[in-house]
Point group: C2
Chain length 230, copies 2
Amino acid sequence: MTVPPGVVRLPRVTLAGQVAGAMRDAVLSGVFPPGQQMNEAELAGRFEVSRGPVREAMQRLVQEGLLVSHPHRGVFVVRLSEADLADVYLARSAIESTALRRIADLPDREPLAGHLAAAVAGMAAAVAVADWADVADSDLAFHRALVDAAGSPRLSRMYETVQAETRLSFQHLMSGYRSSAELVDEHRRLAALATGGDLQAALVELARHLADPVRILRRIGAAAGDPGAP
Amino acid sequence: MTVPPGVVRLPRVTLAGQVAGAMRDAVLSGVFPPGQQMNEAELAGRFEVSRGPVREAMQRLVQEGLLVSHPHRGVFVVRLSEADLADVYLARSAIESTALRRIADLPDREPLAGHLAAAVAGMAAAVAVADWADVADSDLAFHRALVDAAGSPRLSRMYETVQAETRLSFQHLMSGYRSSAELVDEHRRLAALATGGDLQAALVELARHLADPVRILRRIGAAAGDPGAP
DNA sequence: CCGTGAGCGATTGTCAACAATCCTACGATC
DNA sequence: GATCGTAGGATTGTTGACAATCGCTCACGG
């Protein structure tokens, strides 16, 4: 019997892996408030598994920066301060600007342009109906496409962590997105520059986009519910 | 009773944490060859602990990129290819160049200059006696000081992972250091530029220092045991 | 000879129980 | 009232046993 193409090895799934995914989603969607203790026994009961896989899952999220572990005292949802937000943006800037440098050398930037355009279109549609969660998703998908286009496993892996923290800080520090066409235009401009071949202009635009947290924090102060771009 | 200053909360230590540290050291020092399976039961016996803490320790190293886990099949020491090495250098470049930008804004760069000078002195002494392990340690300490001086927890955390991979790829892909004063001079020059206030020159020097892997790989090909700077 | 299925041993994944640690509350003493 | 010591409950850390999975080998049938 010859096996037809398309038949591939099925992914192995462990309980710990599934629990980690479910917990990651729960943390990122704000189900647990900052500083909340994650009770092993209770979570194990909810998931109907033993404490072992829950422990493993939580260790993973600790390494991802979403939870923090204090030995013998428990594991807690991180409290992200404004200083943390600033640091997240610095890390994003490091990763995304390096990605832009790689993208500038790509022989074919059309696939990336397509992905960025799709994200911008999704963002515009979400802005039109004031669906803030979708705006955030599109925004993060835009930047994720940028980093992944660099073709660097390590940049992508680092960005995964930092993007989760971006989403989390958005949950904890910000209360929503402004309904503004400026946000969409900003991304449209960045997409054009990132794929247009003018690296220096793209870097300047990215730096402006991820400008220093003082500007972002000013926005928070100036208008509640007006946090700027993640 | 008033407690005198200097009396601080003692760090809590778990078996899992200790096992993780010992295993990290063993992996980084080349005790386990690339692709080696890490047998839980055997390691648990060696450490005289149960398999639980060994599992937790290994999960941590998996997240750090030193081990790779295949569910139901085991955990293995990663095999780092030349493409991996190139990617590690790209990630280092992203982090270290961002650190340089932050350092350029430091009000006082003297402490960093001191740390870099100490690392260079240690490197020179190690080169003089052809102690390759010490050369590597000094080299990595130099770059670590650079990143830590940026004062960004996330840059430092990301760098920890990438530096461990640097050390590991050094173990797996390279066979030693050349005994060369050029290496020491390179670092001395980088230290001067990093703390001297000329950001552009420092960035150019860092880029040269972490030049594209093709140059490094050429060196491997040109002279066995002559891998260039990590 | 080749392909398939079954069995076995080794190893990983999970479970439940016990041990250890922490925090809080309460009582005793000064 | 402040401090100290103790006990108890809740939770985390670890252990050893059982369950599940995988890879390899061997036997059988076509």
